[in-house]
Structures are given as structure tokens and as C-alpha cells.
């Protein structure tokens, strides 16, 4: 049984402290990392990382060299931590327990295959290595390769495959034994836009409603936003932010974005007069922060617009892009 833990993003924790608004997000945890330190000789790749990976689809974000791949390799037991603890599916990663790798599927960042094999042989062999009886492995290899869209190409030698096909086969070999957790390291690397779309769709469909938890490591923010519900942001081997994407994009102080027909200086002055903070317009959209409850804020803004005869075209709770949130987290 999976351990159940409370998963709370630092931002929400901070909000809870500052605005006395408590938001709990109670979900099961597939991986728990506590003060994890991983060193390669003198170089510290992970430096006291503490985080929890909840069930579902989670993005592992960070710039190049942030420690994402090291974290995945540590979770699989490839790398022994210098200190700290990493637990995956309730098993200690440092123990090197092979049960971990039987329950987890890894899609590595680099191209990888077994030389001299066709895709069916390769995936069936991967299944056999994972513990499937050979006949089951072969049956399942056909099924998974069909799902990954390789069709009749599955009978070809893997070495003749294009980059996109190699990415698909990496996903197929990770999925063949029905893992509980799928670790995807840069799954869209080297793919053209169409291939990228297809790969993201595959990952999304596996991670939503199919009982497979997914941890996607990437520095491509739109990919993460498309596939994942939550993110863990790592930089310099340390945790910089964690939480649902929705929470991360939220702007502190309940700001709203108001779109006018055209930029209006009197409107901005009116908002300032009633104590609001207004940012310079982006095209015709103002970001406004006013004290008070949401309905009071909306009433005050509409009154200001009426007073200054500014035509309101749009009104929504302001949120940042994931890119802004990411830059904020890593800056």
C-alpha cells in the first residue's frame, strides 16, 4: 500500500501563514525525499533536497544541471546518496532493492536500445528483464508498441529508427511491465512539433485515469504544463518551489486583470485614488490589486470604470504564466 502523506506547496504554506488562508491538499505520496545530498566527487548535485512527489502527474522542473536527472537516478538506486533519505513507493531507494525497479519504469533522456534487436524483441526483452514471463512479455510488447504508435515499424531493427520513433520505443520499454510509477527524463527531446504533441498526448493519457503515476523531468515549461498537474522546481540541487501548477501561477494578494477597450489614464488614476495598486497596462489590460473581498474588489473596479467611462472588456483573477512562476522560483 502506498504511504499517505500531506502534500503542501511552500507557496501555499507561505500564504497560509501570511493571509491566514489554509489550503490543504491531501494526496498519496509516491516518493518522499528528505535532506538528500548526492555528490559526484567534489561536485554536489543534490544539496539537502526535501520534497514529496504526490500521486498523479508531477513535473520536475529546473534549468540544465539543476539535479533533475540525478534525482531520478537516485530514486532508482543508481546513485548512492551521501546523506539524507529517498523513499519511493514506500521502499528505501538507497537499499538498492530490485523491487523498486520492478515497480518503476524509466524513460531515459539519452537514446537507448539493445543493439541488434527489432522493436518487438527489444520491448519483449525489457519485459522479460522486468520479470514478465517471456510469452507475456512478447504479447505485451505488441500491445504497448501499438499504443505508442509504432505500428508495423515495430518489426524493424531499432537502429534504423528516427529520433521520434526512438523516443516512442523508450516509452514503450518503460511501460511494458505495467509500472506504478513512470520516470520520464526529457520525453520530448529532439522531437519535431508534431512528434512532441503526440508524445505529450501519450504521456498525458497514461498519467490520467490509467493508474500510472508519472514524474516528468524537463526544462520545457509548456510540456510540463500540458502533461502535469503539479510541479517540483529544483535548482542547484535544492528545492525552489513545489505545488500544483494552479497554485504556482497564482499571484499573491488576489490581483485581477482588467481588460479595457482602450488604455485609460483616468481609470488608472481612479483606481489609485481608492487605494489600489495598478500596474502599467499590457496592451489594454491592467493588473490591479485592491484590498477587500473579491466581490467588493470587483464592485470597486466597475465603479471606477463607470466613473471614468472606461469600457470593460474582460475581468479575471490574475495569474502568472508558468514561465513567470518558474523564473520567480529560480531567481
Amino acid at each position: 500500500m502506498l504511504p499517505v502523506g500531506r502534500w503542501l506547496s511552500p507557496r501555499i504554506r507561505r500564504n497560509a501563514l501570511t493571509t491566514e488562508r489554509v489550503v490543504y491538499c491531501c494526496v498519496s505520496v509516491v516518493a518522499r525525499i528528505e535532506n538528500l545530498v548526492v555528490r559526484y566527487g567534489q561536485f554536489t548535485a543534490l544539496n539537502g533536497l526535501t520534497c514529496e512527489i504526490p500521486e498523479g502527474a508531477t513535473g520536475l522542473l529546473g534549468p540544465n544541471g539543476a539535479g533533475k536527472t540525478t534525482l531520478l537516478k537516485t530514486l532508482l538506486g543508481f546513485v548512492k546518496p551521501a546523506s539524507g533519505k529517498a523513499e519511493i513507493l514506500g521502499l528505501d531507494a538507497a537499499s538498492g532493492d530490485r523491487m523498486i525497479r520492478q515497480k518503476v519504469g524509466l524513460m531515459p533522456e539519452q537514446d537507448c536500445h539493445i543493439p541488434g534487436m527489432s522493436a518487438v524483441q527489444f520491448v519483449a526483452y525489457a519485459g522479460e528483464l522486468a520479470g514478465m514471463p517471456p510469452e507475456q512479455g512478447l504479447r505485451r510488447a505488441h500491445e504497448v508498441l501499438e499504443y505508442c504508435g509504432l505500428g508495423e515499424a515495430r518489426y524493424r531493427n531499432v537502429e534504423t529508427y528516427s529520433t521520434g520513433m526512438k523516443q516512442r520505443i523508450k516509452l514503450a520499454q518503460a511501460l511494458v511491465h505495467g509500472p506504478k510509477l513512470l520516470l520520464l527524463d526529457e520525453p520530448t527531446n529532439g522531437l519535431d512539433p508534431a512528434g512532441r504533441e503526440e508524445m505529450l498526448e501519450l504521456v498525458r493519457s497514461v498519467s490520467h485515469g490509467k493508474g500510472v503515476n508519472v514524474l516528468v523531468s524537463s526544462h520545457v515549461l509548456p510540456d510540463i504544463e500540458r502533461v502535469c498537474d503539479r510541479v517540483v522546481v529544483v535548482m542547484g540541487g535544492k528545492l525552489r518551489a513545489a505545488g500544483s501548477i494552479k497554485d504556482l501561477k497564482r499571484i499573491e494578494g488576489d490581483s485581477v486583470d482588467v481588460e479595457l477597450r482602450e488604455a485609460s489614464v483616468p481609470f488608472a488614476q481612479a483606481i489609485q485614488r481608492i487605494g489600489g495598486v495598478i500596474s502599467p497596462p499590457k496592451f489594454t489590460t491592467y493588473r490591479i490589486q485592491l484590498p477587500g473581498k473579491p466581490d467588493e474588489v470587483s464592485r470597486a473596479i466597475l465603479a471606477a470604470a463607470l466613473e471614468t467611462r472606461a469600457q470593460v472588456r474582460g475581468y479575471k483573477i490574475a495569474e502568472r504564466s508558468l514561465e513567470e512562476a518558474f523564473l520567480d522560483a529560480v531567481s
Binding site: 525497479r101 519504469g105 537507448c112 528483464l129
Partner: protein
């Protein structure tokens, strides 16, 4: 074209998963399957048995010629064939084994030397080690993937020749000369597999390309073979002179990939070896038996073989890693 599989959506696998033990056998099986898919393997395997075929053909004609002579009254009926009577049977297996060394090396090149280097090139280690396989499973599986095909190729013609001799030359001391010949042959047939598997694995793990590993292994093989042949020439020269060959020269003769294998085979068979027809006349006054290098002692050849094999496996063990460690 529509797919023959109707449901193309992802379905979870909830079937049987065997406990994560003995994965080395799955790796060995896959390696063997890849080896026997190669045409070259079968061609060289067939060629490697040529000396046994020549011996079989030679003995067949000697036997038939003598039988014909007996029927024509040239020799007395019931008289034993003088040629076959002098043959030391275990030495014939040693001859076949020694002569097939070069061809077994070619098979080792084909099936063994690229085994880890090609995996390195294709990053296959990530696939292996992300599954419930340990480094030991990988190294042992790869080792057996070379050992078993080579052993089979060595053993098959030996057994064929043994069966032919057992059926035809029982009356010429085939069984009485050495009652334990068959188990000894089984043991000998494992030598090329073990030596080549260990050394080829070590060399293979040092490279990212099978061709480079092959070239390096060939270099090591031929350099050491050249050394052995040089020691053999020295041995001949000393034997042809007034004094016996130096024990040091005889020891150095076995200091090569071929030498280790022949030395072990001589030690197991307890023979220094002889020519195809041991009764043949002396060569310039030198008895043919003194031309062959004496069998090595257990204390020399077994540790030498173990050290060579151990180094190969140790190198492979050290080099096989799921993660390229940087910053060291």
C-alpha cells in the same frame, strides 16, 4: 491501414511478475539468440571442426585400407593395424583442440567482443539497470552469453569425433588408454569459452564501439600468440641442440591466450601431446615427442588462467555503470 489490435488505448499490466532474481539467465539467453542469428557464427563454427573431420577421414581410410589389404591377403587376417595401434587417442583430441584455437578466437570476436561495447554505444546499460537487474546479473549474463556458444562450438566436433572413435577403434585402446577421457573432454571444451568470455568481456567494456574492442582484442591475441610461437621456436632450437629446452622457455610458451588454453588442456589430459602418427620417424634425429612443449604444472597454469580470466572480469565489473560519474 487499420491495426489488427482493436483496442489501442493504454491498458495496465496486472499479470505475473517473477521475483527479481536470476535475471542473468534472461540476459545470457538474449545474447545467445543474437549470436546464433549471425551467419558468420555458423560458418566459423563449421570451419572450426575441420581438423576433427580430417582426422576422421584419415583414420577411416587407414582402417579401410588395412581391411582391404587383409582381405587381399597382403597382411594376416586378425592382425591389428600397426598405424592405429600406436595412436595415443587423447593426443588427437589435444591436436584438434589446439588447431581450432584460432577459429574459436574468430568466433569469440564475432559473438563476444562487441557485447558490452555495443551496449555502451547504444546506452543499453540504462535499459538493463533500470529494470530489476543488478550489475552482477549483467556481467554474469554477458559472460555466459559468450561462454555457452563457444563451449558448444568446441564440444560438438569433439563429441562427434569421440563417438566415431568409440564406435570404430575400441579394439585399439580407445577406452582402455584413458577411461575418463569423456569427462576430461567436457572439461576441456569449457576452456575456450571461459578464457575468451572473461578476456573479451574486459576488453569490450573499455570501448564504445565493437570494432575498436575487436581490433584491440585481436591485437592482444596476436601479440601474445607471436610470443608463444617465438618460445616454441626457441624450444625447437634447444631440443635440436645437445641440451634440453629451458624450463623457463617452456613456461613462457603458455604465456598467451592460446597458450593458457593449450596448457590447461594438456594438464587436464595429462599429456604433452604428440603428432598425428606418433610412430613417425625422427626428424633429424630429434624424437617427435620432444618437439612438443611439456605439459605445464598445476601450480603454474591454473593460477595463470585464473589471473587472466579474473583481470578480464574485474575490468568489466569496474567499467559497468549505470551512471557516468563526473567531477572525479
Amino acid at each position: 491501414m487499420s491495426s489488427p489490435i482493436a483496442d489501442l488505448s493504454y491498458r495496465h499490466y496486472d499479470g505475473e511478475l517473477l521475483p527479481p532474481v536470476n535475471r542473468w539467465w534472461a540476459i545470457a539467453k538474449a545474447s545467445i539468440r543474437l549470436s546464433i542469428k549471425k551467419k558468420g557464427f555458423w560458418i566459423w563454427a563449421a570451419i572450426s571442426s575441420y581438423w576433427y573431420l580430417i582426422m576422421m577421414a584419415t583414420y577411416y581410410f587407414i582402417d579401410n585400407f588395412f581391411s582391404g589389404a587383409a582381405q587381399r591377403g597382403v597382411v594376416q587376417l586378425g592382425q591389428k593395424n600397426p598405424l592405429l595401434s600406436t595412436i595415443i587417442w587423447k593426443d588427437q583430441f589435444l591436436n584438434g583442440f589446439s588447431i581450432s584455437q584460432m577459429l574459436l578466437f574468430v568466433i569469440a570476436l564475432l559473438v563476444g567482443v562487441g557485447t558490452i561495447s555495443n551496449d555502451n554505444r547504444a546506452n543499453a546499460l540504462l535499459v538493463y539497470l533500470s529494470k530489476p537487474c543488478t550489475k552482477a546479473d549483467y556481467v554474469i549474463g554477458k559472460w555466459f552469453g559468450i561462454f555457452l556458444p563457444l563451449t558448444a562450438v568446441t564440444l560438438a566436433p569433439m563429441l562427434f569425433f569421440y563417438a566415431y572413435c568409440a564406435m570404430s577403434f575400441k579394439s585399439y585402446g580407445f577406452f582402455s588408454q584413458d577411461a575418463l577421457l569423456l569427462p576430461k573432454l567436457l572439461l576441456i571444451s569449457m576452456i575456450p569459452g571461459a578464457v575468451h568470455a572473461s578476456l573479451a568481456l574486459g576488453v569490450s567494456s573499455l570501448f564504445n564501439q565493437g570494432r575498436l574492442a575487436g581490433a584491440t582484442y585481436s591485437g592482444i591475441y596476436f601479440m601474445s600468440l607471436f610470443f608463444t610461437k617465438a618460445m616454441q621456436v626457441v624450444h625447437f632450437k634447444m631440443a635440436a641442440g645437445d641440451h634440453a629446452a629451458s624450463p623457463l622457455v617452456d613456461k613462457l610458451y603458455y604465456f598467451s591466450i592460446d597458450g593458457i588454453q593449450i596448457g590447461l588442456a594438456k594438464w587436464i589430459l595429462a599429456t604433452r601431446g604428440s603428432e598425428l602418427f606418433p610412430h613417425q620417424s625422427d626428424l633429424n634425429g630429434i624424437p617427435p615427442t620432444s618437439l612438443s612443449v611439456p605439459q605445464p604444472s598445476f601450480a603454474y597454469i591454473v593460477p595463470l588462467a585464473l589471473i587472466a580470466c579474473g583481470i578480464g572480469v574485474l575490468v568489466a565489473w569496474r567499467r559497468v555503470r549505470a551512471v557516468e560519474v563526473v567531477g572525479r
